[in-house]
Symmetry: C2
Subunit: 119 residues, 2 copies
């Protein structure tokens, strides 16, 4: 069976959530959204392109920052409404220059920052 | 700063995506949705409760199957619109009885099932 992005289940805005995970360490780096077209771009190019909901535009990850994500493997969940991207991340994934966007932990009833900026 | 679920950014339906990751292995198990109330339940109880969009009801993970998720740590992303749940998963996370919902990989232009049911 060949893989066809149009067979996925997109939301009312034509988008599907995509989780980026470091292929080597397993660290979850970020979650963003893809359209069928941004997924096609990603598969063709090998570099991850999301859809920016705020800018309503393609978002070629790292295009301005250089912090690109190279796609190692695409995985699809059981309901075909969520993607897992195993990626090779150059530098930080987060716009705060932290490796991961998930740098805040809820601990002991409060919030703790557990990652510092790396760039 | 104390952690208050009402400070998160929910979508138009009052929901926020939550990624469940095995706290020990780093495996991404599933993605589902939480309401502020299901997150409060989860924090109080220590067992993960989602919001089922199809049933429009609380979904205490594993309530019928026994495949519960114990919350080890809650992490919040930079935009406060996505959650990462580090969990201790009993048995399979997926309703297909696979450990993870992300059991399909896009490889060589096709789809490959990379995990078998464990229960």
């Amino acid at each position: 069976m060949s893989f066809d992005p149009s067979t996925l289940r997109y939301d009312a805005h034509g988008l599907i959530p995509a989780i980026a995970q470091d292929h080597a360490t397993g660290e979850v780096l970020m979650m963003a959204w893809m359209s069928a077209e941004s997924l096609r771009e990603t598969l063709e190019d090998g570099r991850v392109t999301y859809w920016s909901r705020s800018r309503k535009a393609f978002w070629a990850k790292g295009e301005s920052s250089g912090h690109v994500q190279r796609l190692i493997e695409l995985r699809i969940d059981c309901d075909r409404d969520c993607l897992l991207l195993l990626v090779d991340q150059t530098g930080p994934a987060c716009h705060t220059n932290r490796r991961s966007c998930f740098y805040t932990a809820a601990r002991d009833g409060g919030e703790v920052v557990i990652l510092e900026p790396i760039a």
